[in-house]
Symmetry: C2
Subunit: 227 residues, 2 copies
């Protein structure tokens, strides 16, 4: 009886998502089948299909978890003044989200091509993130951490922040080392993001942000010879 009770059903569903996320992160989505996931959990493929139509459905549900995590982190009230500590919170949180769901950005183009529903959802998510980054920049301007910026420059800066932060992990993997980067290395992308802020800092906060940025400085082995 317990196997079909709502609680156990919910547990199985969550366990499938958790095991799928771990496997996708470790081995890449395309190297993991629903049969692998079922076998890892010691359940039958039929039981898995009771909860999810197919692998794309699992990916989609994981994306919704990722999206709600990041949306939660980036809940920024328009009109608030922000301090440097707020900026650190936002950056570390987003990096943490990217890290926990790292398979998504690794195979993003392929995943979006194979699922229209995911593609629409991802597009809306990106638009919300860009708006949130702009709102954070406005908050930092209001908090006098950053100097005032034109709308057009703030928009372009927000997009560069997004491009740098979402692609840092892939850069580490392709240019640096073939092994999976560690969270500490992924956090070093914050150094590159803070570099984007430097020119626009209010002079009163410049030293604090420079010291903060220094904490994330990567070793930059890719800047040496090719091998």
């Amino acid at each position: 009886m317990s196997a079909s009770s709502p609680k156990s059903t919910g547990n199985t569903r969550n366990r499938i998502l958790q095991v799928a996320l771990d496997s996708f992160n470790r081995q890449g989505e395309r190297n993991v089948s629903t049969n692998h996931i079922a076998a890892d959990l010691g359940i039958s493929p039929g039981n898995l299909y009771y909860h999810f139509r197919n692998k794309a459905d699992i990916v989609y549900q994981l994306f919704l978890q990722y999206e709600s995590l990041v949306d939660g982190y980036l809940k920024v009230r328009n009109g608030n003044a922000l301090a440097i500590d707020d900026l650190v919170f936002y950056l570390e949180s987003v990096v943490d989200g990217l890290w926990r769901f790292r398979f998504l950005h690794r195979e993003l183009e392929f995943l979006l091509e194979s699922d229209d529903r995911l593609r629409c959802e991802y597009r809306a998510f990106t638009a919300r993130c860009l708006v949130a980054i702009e709102t954070i920049l406005q908050g930092l301007i209001r908090g006098r951490v950053l100097q005032s910026l034109s709308d057009e420059l703030r928009q372009a800066l927000a997009l560069n922040i997004w491009l740098v932060i979402t692609n840092w992990m892939a850069f580490l993997k392709t240019a640096h080392d073939s092994r999976e980067p560690e969270l500490a290395e992924v956090r070093q992308g914050i150094y590159q993001v803070l570099t984007l802020h430097l020119p626009y800092l209010d002079p009163a906060h410049r030293d604090d942000v420079l010291a903060l940025r220094d904490r994330y400085r990567p070793a930059m082995p890719w800047a040496l010879s090719g091998e």
Copy 2:
């Protein structure tokens, strides 16, 4: 007799590479098999395997073409002073190279994971590109287009330029529209790259670079609502 002459053999090899590049760009590398390529060319799979061991070998040879194209574009003599026109040439050339071999960056992580030789080659290539971007920045400083920059800042700026330029196409595809972006849209990434240069411009060149940047300004539909 002509079918096995060196000239015809070389022609077949080049035609295989050309057809593979077109198909990879259009359909994605993982959706194109060597059989597809042979069929498109009207040759037998055996004839294709006479020239290339497998699909990874074709990908590798195409990467070498891409690499030599970009290396050629980025041949920057250390110590030269550079002007704004030089910067435009470098940016447009690199975007052109990324566009012509666009399948590579689209599936980069997967391609590198499946071929050690490609991974080593790509890592060395990235390191050379980063050095070239730094040399270009130094040339622009020498040409008084940019203000003087510390080594550390120049290095971080070069890396941000690389992250923005190499990931612009993927951003267009995932955040903007599912269709393949056009070259004109891919060129608009130059707007984002020039945004990175803005804070460091020598005041005498500021208006020229702002006008130049305006020529590449994207429509930014992703900054509107999610849909």
